[in-house]
C-alpha cells in the first residue's frame, strides 16, 4: 500500500476497511501484520478509524449467530446435519437393504491408529497425496502401505480427499459398512449407531461390509446417505448444504433452521464443557446460526441475549432454560 497521509475521513475509512477485510478473510502472515501496524502507527486517525470499524465488526459477530432469512437473502436452505436431515432423508428413502452376498474381507498388514481429542482436528497426508482430515473426538485405524489402502473409522467424523488408484482402491469401513472410493472427496461420520456418508466429488461405492446388500450403492456428487436402525436412506444435497456440512474443517458449525437441542449436541461434540437444555420446549426452539466449534460461550450468550433464555453456569456445564 502506498504512503498515504490524507486527512480525508472517507479515504481513511476505506483504507481501514480494506485492512480489516484483508485480515479477516485472506491469508494473513507476520509481514501483513507488520504492514498493518506501520499503517496504524502513521497516524492516530488511522488507529481510530480501524478501531471504529473493528468495534462494529465485532458486534456483527454477536448477531451473525442468527442468519438472515429475509426474502432478499438467498441463504435459505433448510437442510442441516441433524433431524431435519434425517426426516428429509427418510422422505427420499430409496433402499431398505436386506440381502445376502459374499463378503470380501481384507487382511491388515500393518495397522496404525490415529485419534483426535475433544475439539481437536488432525490432517493425515498419505504417501500417494491423499488426505484424511479427522474431526473432533475421532478414532481411525489405518492399514496403509504395501499396496493397501484401508481404513476403519471406529468412531467420529472424517473427510477424505482420495487419489484414485484402480489397482489399489481406497476403502473405509465404518459401522459395518464399506465405502470404496472411485476417486473422490467424501465425508464419513459414525456416531452412536448412526452412519452418514456424503460425497462431494468423484464417485464412490457404498456396501455393507458383511455383504448382505445385493449390490453396492454408487454415490455421485451431492449424494448423502444415512444408515440408522438398519435402514439406509439416500438423498441429494445441494453444494451449499454439503459445504455447511464441512464447516468444521474451517472450525465452523453452520446450522439452518436447526433446533437448539441439535445445535447444543453438535457443539458438545467439540467441548468438554457441555451445553444442557433443561426442557424439551427450550430444546425445540429453532435457529439458523453459525458458531465456532469452540463457541459454547457464544451459544449461551445467544440464548441469553437474543432468545431471552436463562443461562446458568455449573461446574462443567451450562444449563439453559426458559
Amino acid at each position: 500500500m502506498s504512503e498515504h497521509f490524507s486527512d480525508d475521513a472517507s479515504d481513511i475509512t476505506a483504507q481501514a476497511a480494506d485492512w480489516l477485510q484483508r485480515r479477516e478473510f485472506w491469508n494473513w502472515n507476520e509481514a501483513d501484520q507488520a504492514a498493518l501496524n506501520s499503517w496504524l502507527d502513521q497516524s492516530l486517525s488511522h488507529r481510530i478509524a480501524y478501531t471504529r470499524l473493528g468495534a462494529a465488526w465485532t458486534r456483527t459477530a454477536r448477531v451473525a449467530a442468527l442468519k438472515t432469512h429475509g426474502p432478499r437473502s438467498n441463504v435459505a436452505e433448510s437442510l442441516s446435519r441433524s433431524k431435519t436431515f434425517f426426516r428429509l432423508a427418510a422422505a427420499f428413502a430409496l433402499v431398505a437393504a436386506v440381502g445376502v452376498g459374499v463378503a470380501s474381507y481384507f487382511q491388515a498388514p500393518a495397522e496404525k491408529t490415529f485419534a483426535t481429542a475433544l475439539g481437536e482436528r488432525k490432517i493425515i497426508t498419505l504417501a500417494d497425496g491423499s488426505r484424511i482430515e479427522l474431526n473432533t473426538n475421532t478414532v481411525l485405524r489405518a492399514q496403509l502401505g504395501d499396496g493397501h489402502r484401508h481404513v476403519t473409522l471406529v468412531h467420529g467424523e472424517a473427510f477424505f480427499d482420495i487419489r484414485h488408484d484402480a489397482i489399489h482402491p481406497f476403502s473405509v469401513v465404518a459401522d459395518g459398512h464399506r465405502i470404496t472410493d472411485l476417486g473422490t472427496k467424501f465425508l464419513v461420520r459414525a456416531q452412536s449407531n448412526r452412519l452418514e456418508v456424503a460425497l462431494m466429488e468423484g464417485k464412490a461405492a457404498f456396501d455393507a461390509a458383511d455383504g448382505r446388500m445385493k449390490s453396492p450403492i454408487v454415490l455421485v456428487p451431492g449424494d448423502a446417505l444415512v444408515v440408522s436402525d438398519n435402514q439406509i436412506h439416500t438423498m441429494q444435497r445441494t453444494a451449499k448444504g454439503l459445504a455447511n456440512e464441512l464447516g468444521w474443517r474451517r472450525g465452523m458449525l453452520i446450522f439452518d433452521n436447526a433446533t437448539l437441542g441439535e445445535v447444543a449436541a453438535e457443539l458438545n461434540r467439540y467441548n468438554s464443557h457441555k451445553l444442557v437444555l433443561a426442557d424439551p420446549r427450550t430444546a425445540a426452539i429453532r435457529i439458523s446460526a453459525s458458531f465456532r466449534t469452540g463457541g459454547t460461550e457464544d451459544f449461551s450468550q445467544l440464548a441469553h441475549v437474543l432468545l431471552g433464555l436463562k443461562v446458568e453456569e455449573r461446574n462443567d456445564e451450562t444449563v439453559i432454560s426458559r
Binding site: A17, L20, W26, L44, A55, A64, R72
Partner: protein, 186 residues
C-alpha cells in the same frame, strides 16, 4: 486541564477506552453535528476530527466525564471552523448544555437491546448493494474465506475484497448509529 504526568496510557489502551466510552456516543455526536452544521458533506470529516481531538486529549489524561467532553470538543471544533469559513453565525451553534438532546433513559433490558441490534443488522445487511451484501453474508454468516467467496460468487478475488471493505464500512455506519435505517418503523 489535562496534566502531563510521565507516560500516559498506551495507544491500545486509549483505543480500548475509545471503543468502550466514546463510540457508543456516536449517534448523539452525529445528531449534534448534523443539527449544527449545514453542509452534510463535511460531517464525516468533522466526526473524525472530534474523535482525533478526544483521543489526543485522552493520551494525556482521560476526561472524567466523557459525554460532556465529546460534545464540548465538537462544539469548539464547529466554532473554530465557522470562524475560519465565516459561514455560520457562532451563536447559532448550540451549547450542548442547553441543547435538547435525547435524554439518558434507562436502557431496556439486554434482550430487547440485542433484538433491536439484530433488526438493525438485518436492515443494514438488506441495505447493502446486492453483490456487497452477498459477499458479507457468505463471509460473516456462512463463514467462508475470501477465496471461497470468490469461487461461490464467480468473481475476481480483488472484487470480493472491494465488496467486503465496502460492506464493513457501511455496517459500521449503521451499527454506530449514523443511519438509523430502522427508525420510524414499528
Amino acid at each position: 486541564m489535562p496534566h502531563r504526568s510521565g507516560e500516559g496510557p498506551s495507544a491500545s489502551e486509549v483505543m480500548a477506552w475509545f471503543a468502550r466510552e466514546v463510540l457508543p456516543l456516536e449517534p448523539l455526536l452525529m445528531h449534534f453535528l448534523r443539527t449544527n452544521w449545514r453542509n452534510s458533506g463535511d460531517i464525516e470529516d468533522l466526526r473524525q476530527d472530534v474523535y482525533l481531538r478526544v483521543c489526543e486529549a485522552a493520551q494525556e489524561e482521560y476526561p472524567a466525564q466523557v459525554k460532556p467532553f465529546v460534545l464540548a470538543t465538537a462544539r469548539n471544533l464547529l466554532i473554530n471552523r465557522a470562524r475560519r469559513e465565516r459561514v455560520v453565525p457562532i451563536e447559532a451553534i448550540a451549547d450542548p448544555e442547553t441543547l435538547n438532546l435525547p435524554a439518558d433513559v434507562p436502557g431496556p433490558d439486554r434482550t430487547v437491546v440485542a433484538r433491536d441490534e439484530l433488526r438493525r443488522l438485518q436492515a443494514a445487511i438488506d441495505h447493502l448493494p446486492p453483490r456487497c451484501r452477498e459477499a458479507i453474508v457468505l463471509g460473516r454468516i456462512e463463514g467462508l474465506n475470501g477465496r471461497e467467496i470468490a469461487e461461490r460468487m464467480g468473481i475476481a478475488e480483488r472484487t470480493v475484497s472491494e465488496h467486503l471493505a465496502k460492506g464493513i464500512a457501511a455496517l459500521a455506519e449503521i451499527l454506530h448509529g449514523q443511519n438509523s435505517l430502522t427508525e420510524g418503523k414499528p
